[in-house]
């Protein structure tokens, strides 16, 4: 950063500025005198965030001669690059879709505060995907976490929601504290806060090969990230929080928070513990590759095995999301295949975002209509509302990784990266797990299509905004699984390349 380029600096945080303005608009509308204006809040928030997703694409990061060159902004707080662009687009779309999803939910849909808090959380996640400084990393993490605690406990008179919020808060603040301790160790060693300067200092002679303390910092930071992406063994909060929180919030936490955390995770580990950094003759990258591989195996196996016996659809999706985090961690562990690895993580998160949101939209519609979240009650859904059943089927097949849905390419790219980096065993474990997972996804599909129920003549009412959400997410899932896979993958690969330069 030689000089302060005002225009480029502002444009590098254009989505965040946009979100702040949107926040103020929504805040004003939520206390409007006329009912019709208050009822517009979900749509303003939803379509506002979806429109803001265009900002990172319009102000795309380019080479040194463009309006916003790729690089550090705001004194090194923000790194604006293609990876940040990819994740910001998916986070903003996820936020917008969540706002639309929530609009018809009893207890939350009519309350303006809900959308305000979602916008703040989206702002934090958007910052997370671009932060390049220890201070910014932590501030962004907390800007994300605190609104999510509030959202989880949003149904005030529902004890399960309160339990979910308290659990999330306790586990979350504990994980944040541990992570903060790791970050403070890093600052203590080097006196630097910019993550792109830490590695150079730790590799210098002045640091005198202090392997153990650096490893300690790495483990502490991994705990924080492990919690955020709900990887085993930091997953304990996931099922309870997912089950108790209002369903749109569950969908939002399971996709956007996870995506932002993965964006930060790959950026952080590639920058702070790079391949070139070796202390006492040991490459630090090997340590975290092994950590990630172990977490990947544990998350996939435990998530899938525990999902087998679930009766509640939200708990099933919670365990499934633990397993999905495991698959994505394979991509992270495959870092030695360079951009293949990070591109696969980016693609996986991209397709997972829309897949899971589609699944949760169906769960919302079903539980709003029937008051039930039990898998057995989904019986006969095909005869009640064939389109809903179809959307759910597409989402579940994508989660399972069956072509022609996006999940197939997600898993394909992740396993490909693993094999290319010499972790064939990890890819094999992943494939075996995918087979286990197929069972419980197919059971839900079977219940919807084969099982009979007495309510088959009562179709599930579907609001207009839900029709849009389901069409959009299902179409994206199908397109990503067929013609669009290459485009998005190449985009993520360009983002990945930016991390290594």
């Amino acid at each position: 950063m030689s000089e302060f380029d005002t225009l480029a600096s502002y444009l590098s945080v254009a989505p965040e500025i946009g979100l702040t303005i949107l926040l103020l608009i929504v805040l004003a509308f939520s206390v409007a005198r006329r009912e019709v204006e208050r009822a517009a809040v979900p749509y303003i928030a939803g379509f506002g965030m979806i429109a803001l997703a265009a900002l990172p694409l319009i102000f795309a990061p380019g080479d040194a001669n463009s309006t916003i060159p790729e690089g550090l902004y705001w004194g090194g707080m923000i790194r604006y690059d293609v990876l940040a662009q990819v994740f910001r687009v998916m986070i903003l779309l996820a936020g917008g879709i969540t706002a639309l999803m929530a609009s018809g939910v009893r207890g939350v849909g009519r309350r303006g505060e809900f959308y305000i808090v979602i916008i703040v959380a989206t702002l934090g996640m958007s910052l997370m995907s671009a932060s390049a400084d220890l201070v910014m990393v932590f501030v962004a993490l907390e800007t994300t976490s605190i609104p999510l605690y509030i959202l989880a406990a949003f149904k005030r008179d529902d004890t399960r929601s309160a339990e979910s919020g308290i659990k999330y808060f306790l586990f979350g603040s504990f994980a944040s504290a541990i992570m903060l301790y790791g970050l403070s160790l890093l600052y203590g060693f080097t006196g630097q806060t910019n993550i792109y300067q830490l590695a150079a200092f730790m590799g210098s002679d002045a640091f005198a090969n202090n392997l153990v303390p650096v490893l300690a910092s790495m483990v502490l930071v991994v705990v924080g990230f492990g919690f955020k992406v709900s990887a085993v063994p930091f997953h304990f909060w996931t099922p309870d929080v997912y089950e108790g929180a209002p369903t749109p919030v569950t969908g939002y936490v399971s996709v956007a928070s996870k995506a932002a955390s993965f964006a930060l995770l790959v950026r952080f580990f590639v920058a702070v513990y790079p391949e070139t950094l070796a202390l006492s003759g040991e490459s630090l990258q090997n340590f975290w590759i092994q950590l990630m591989a172990v977490f990947a195996v544990l998350s996939m196996t435990l998530g899938n095995v525990l999902a087998l016996s679930q009766k509640n659809i939200k708990r099933l999706l919670a365990y499934s999301s633990i397993a999905q985090a495991g698959y994505t961690l394979i991509g992270v562990a495959a870092i030695q295949s360079q951009e293949l690895s990070i591109a696969s993580v980016g693609f996986y998160m991209f397709m997972y975002t829309f897949t899971n949101l589609a699944a949760f939209t169906v769960v919302i519609l079903f539980s709003e209509a029937t008051g039930s979240e039990t898998i057995a009650d989904l019986a006969g859904l095909n005869r009640r509302s064939p389109w809903l059943a179809l959307a759910m089927t597409i989402a579940l097949l994508s989660l399972a990784g069956i072509p022609p849905t996006a999940g197939f390419f997600g898993k394909f790219f992740v396993f490909n990266a693993a094999v290319r980096s010499g972790l064939t065993w990890l890819a094999v474990v992943g494939v075996l797990n995918a087979i286990v997972a197929l069972y419980y996804y197919l059971v839900v599909i079977k219940v919807m299509y084969v099982d009979r129920s007495e309510d088959e003549d009562k179709p599930i009412p579907v609001g207009r905004q839900y029709v849009w959400v389901l069409w959009a997410t299902s179409l994206i899932v199908i397109v990503l699984g067929t013609v669009g896979a290459q485009t998005v993958y190449d985009w993520a690969a360009r983002g990945a390349m930016g991390l290594f330069t």
Partner: protein, 120 residues
């Protein structure tokens, strides 16, 4: 120069914290008599018999006042350094401060409309 020994006090403190924590748990477990009765294991409510559920709603008026206080306290704290360097920064600082005040005003408007400023 960063020497590992500089971090020795932190390490010592970490160890001490773990040891003291475990010791306190174990000593009370070993030495303390343990005779639970129904009365003793009931939730503590100022020595009274517990009445009603534990999740009653509480009035949050003081909390609201605290939040409003923070809103305006930050405004004042931010004003002070701004006033000191105002001449140096010029128009830029003025615009920034107006943006800040607008954000606060929207929050104030929201609190007002929600009735947070009324005591009853």
């Amino acid at each position: 120069m960063v020497a590992l020994s500089e971090f020795a006090p932190i390490g010592a403190m970490l160890l001490l914290a773990i040891v003291v924590g475990l010791l306190l748990l174990f000593i009370s477990r070993i030495l303390g008599p343990n005779k639970p009765t129904e009365r003793k294991s009931a939730p503590y409510e100022s020595g009274m018999k517990p009445i009603g559920p534990g999740t009653r709603r509480l009035p949050v008026r003081f909390y609201l006042i605290a939040v409003l206080f923070i809103l305006f306290d930050i405004e004042v704290i931010f004003f002070l350094p701004w006033a000191v360097v105002f001449r140096k920064l010029g128009l830029f600082a003025l615009v920034e401060m107006f943006i800040f005040i607008i954000i606060l005003l929207v929050g104030y408007f929201y609190a007002w409309r929600k009735g947070a400023l009324e005591w009853e």
